[in-house]
Amino acid sequence: MRFESMHDELRDGVRAVCEKFDGPYWRGLEPDGYPTDFVDALTAAGYLAALIPEEYGGGGATLTEASVILEEIAASGGNPSACHAQMYIMGTLLRHGSEPQKRDYLPRIASGELRLQAFGVTEPGAGSETTRIRTRAERTADGWRINGQKIWTSRAMHSDLMLLLARTTPYEQCAKPTDGLSTFLFDMRDLPGLTIKPIPTMMNHNTTEVFFDDVVIPPAALVGEEGRGFRYILDGMNAERILIASECIGDGRFVLERAIAYANEREVFGRPIGANQGVQFPLARAYAQLRAADLVRFEAARLYDAGEKCAEEANMAKFLASEASWAAVNAALDTHGGFGFAVEYDIERKFRETRLYQVAPINNNLVLAYLGQHVLGLPKSY
């Protein structure tokens, strides 16, 4: 298999860290263990702080490089979702955080002293229609008082900081639905009134519900200007799409590699099962899909790094890569037959893990709606 060969040294470096965290390690964490040792090793080698500028103690990486890091974790069989949020949340802090916020948090995030993994946006009554969130932040004499509830806030139990989107002006009082939302960054440890409740899911994703009951955070927690939070969050979404696409490509590489080895080795009726077109063609098709998605992902990352518009490419990359990794893992499951369902083959784990990305962080139907409306000029479809 030939994939994009750029950044070979970076890929080798990430692989060196991942080598010690093999299939048994990841399987051993199921159903809901957090890979603390892995995240610590990744942090110590500087990969998790890659996107933080060098002046704040980070690696000063491009998004392209960051995407290669997450891809290689997935391609090694690991699950980068355990720490990817730190990379995609970072954009909001870097671009819209104040200098004191950056100086306060970034060096400590880079060193691993603080973890920024929790991103509180979605609510039980507001998913894709983000502007309908009801969590309120009200200004008080000593800061902000938060009341409300977030859901699907992953890794909240394993994060020290939270980036939160909350309404500072009620929906009804805003000229536009996207107005009146603000972004806050604060230390979520031991905050009175904040309760985290884990949600068991089909894959190990450490996701939670977070309840805010008169939670008071300091005035300095506000990121940028009050009321402009939706724009700040949107800014980070292209980066998120590109990074998720890269993880899917890594997942696809991992399962295809396993399936190809198995198809060449497993003999039935006196010949390797890979000699059968019914086994071979789905693998070849998935490979073609992955390669195409990979090219769009690198194009999206190139545009992002050049500071150019990339919403079309970032959305397409996420869509294509999540569909391709799903095709790959299904083909791999069929190739392995009954063994694919056995936990020790890691295929069923990847099957569960990579399925998520057709639904999150944005449903693929909404990607199509975006492309239809904003790229092709068709009427709004939702």
């Binding site: 070979d8 040294e9 970076l10 080798d12 470096g13 060196a16 860290v17 090793a41 110590a44 080698a45 500087g46 990969y47 702080a49 890659a50 060098e54 690696g59 000063g60 990486a61 890091i69």
Partner: protein, 259 residues
């Protein structure tokens, strides 16, 4: 302290390797090249010495064009600069010819210590460090499981069949290390990025003032006369124990010349 660390690019330990039919040399295209595993320990040791005593680490490698990747890897682990000895005439060099070329590259650069891994995973001879020391006329402290540097005195624990010997020499000296000595660091993200900007001197025989006649296959004392693929694994022998199992196993081992 100026420390050189010599590294070798070898075929991936896990890959199936091939020899070329025309000259019995390793077909380097048949497998990915990686840094010889024991050399990672050597790089780590060199870095630790310099981190404690101050100074610089220079990585030195002899090998074809793509051995530059291995030099780069050592730089990404933290070495300061590199020397890559590359020349078509070096192809097929045996241990003596390799030591000759490496010694020429190391000579006159005022290294206090020259660190090697104790063997390479492709040749497994463990002689190059001693040969380089001999050619340069400096002390050799080989098979070290521990290194202590105190000013110009270097003390190592030299691994032996029965334990270890404590051996001391004064700088300049050659050290070779075994895998017990440390835990090599990962190249960090910053290290990988910084390595791209670190200087690497690429030199050939002309720069080393070496006569092509003293290196390469023609100058090598040892040659591969012939080779064949390893025979397929035969089925094992099952010894049933009817009270004489021990004797039967002893007979089997004696027959195979194991005892």
């Amino acid at each position: 302290m100026k420390v050189a660390v010599c590294v070798k690019q070898v075929p991936d330990t896990w890959a199936e390797k091939r020899l070329r039919a025309e000259d019995s040399l390793l077909d380097r295209e048949s497998a990915d090249g990686v840094m010889n595993e024991l050399d990672e320990y050597a790089v780590e040791q060199a870095l630790q010495i310099v981190e404690a005593a101050g100074g610089e680490v220079v990585v030195v490698s002899m090998g074809p064009e793509r051995a530059a990747e291995t030099v780069r890897k050592a730089l990404s682990m933290g070495a300061d600069s590199g020397i890559h000895v590359v020349d078509d005439a070096l192809r097929g060099s045996d241990a003596i010819a390799t030591a000759t070329a490496l010694a020429a590259a190391l000579k006159g650069r005022d290294f206090d210590l020259i660190v090697f891994g104790s063997e390479s995973t492709d040749a497994r001879m463990s002689v190059v460090p001693a040969m380089v020391a001999e050619i340069l006329g400096i002390a050799q402290l080989t098979f070290a499981q521990k290194v202590l540097v105190d000013g110009s005195a270097v003390t190592i624990e030299r691994v032996t069949d029965y334990g270890f010997d404590t051996v001391t020499a004064s700088t300049p000296a050659v050290i070779s290390v075994v895998e017990k000595i440390n835990e090599p660091r990962y190249p960090s993200f910053k290290g990988i990025m910084a390595a791209k900007k670190k200087p690497v001197e690429t030199i050939g025989l002309a720069e080393l003032s070496l006569d092509p006649g003293v290196v390469g296959s023609r100058a090598s004392w040892s040659v591969v006369a012939d080779f064949s693929a390893r025979p397929a694994k035969a089925a094992g022998v099952v010894v049933s124990d009817a009270g004489d199992g021990g004797v039967k196993i002893a007979d089997f081992l004696a027959e195979q010349k194991f005892i």
